[in-house]
Symmetry: C2
Subunit: 185 residues, 2 copies
Amino acid sequence: MRLAYIVYDGMSWLDLIGVYDPVSRLKSKGYNTEITWEFCAFTEGASDQFGLAMKPDRVKQVLKGYDVIVVPGGVGVKALLAQPNFIEWLKGAEETPLKVATCTGSLLLAKAGFLQDKKATTHFAKQDVLREMNVNVVSQRVVDDGNIITSDTGLAAIELGLYLCEKWSGEEARNIIQRELLFQQ
Amino acid sequence: MRLAYIVYDGMSWLDLIGVYDPVSRLKSKGYNTEITWEFCAFTEGASDQFGLAMKPDRVKQVLKGYDVIVVPGGVGVKALLAQPNFIEWLKGAEETPLKVATCTGSLLLAKAGFLQDKKATTHFAKQDVLREMNVNVVSQRVVDDGNIITSDTGLAAIELGLYLCEKWSGEEARNIIQRELLFQQ
């Protein structure tokens, strides 16, 4: 299974790491040793609003050949929605079987035309915007509409990550990873 | 207030971002516009076990002049405990008023001699190791012993971050930020 994490200037690290951490544990704990991922960007920049930056693995390459794309939210989404070149690039993922977004990442999926009449969610302050984009907005932490899975706010990204763990490697894998993340004495 | 986040090869991104995300929101939401931070490393490398890397702001510079150091945990801790040069460098933070660690980051604080007879916690699988280092290990999500604040496992890093938000900017700031992170419909 090949994942592409979509990264950009103004992303939220928590929106990214919330999915990345539990999903990566599928590999480190041996539940799915075949899983691989790349961080894909349209431009070199991939930092949050404060400048905490990563170096993408792929820049401006066509988004083909992945099984999953994961789009985190962040304050940078607003600017990207107004950048036709970025949206065109994202549309390259049209044939990707599973498209995932956390928080305001859903707005980018919608702008690329992937959420037409689909059920999805986003940050509680942006649900009206998503609704205006002809999306069937559902107020839930994690919304699974088959080839589209989205989460709403902040730590729901972790819940989405755990949801993917269960979907791909079963309940036991999810429970072990969840125990590590949410351990209570 | 000046923070130093200590980064290294084999760190856990969630252990870092768990503190970084809520604390950074103190700045973006205007609760503490004076807060600044730097990512400090002893060597150029600052990536997790899978290679997701950041570029540190400071490499091998003396850890002086900070009000807070924050040490995330990660699988790389084991190697660092056996590297006297790294531990010597970390000891440079001796006069830092507040030392914070998430998960196995506590072991590094202990090795540097900062936790002698202090109350602290760490990942549930490493509490015995911390106890053998003459630390008064407490099984709690977040443990505050004055100039040392630690958290145990996984998402407790977020709880520690929220704890710092309240400590530095009051209950209202914490509640607003917590609502964004943990929002339930």
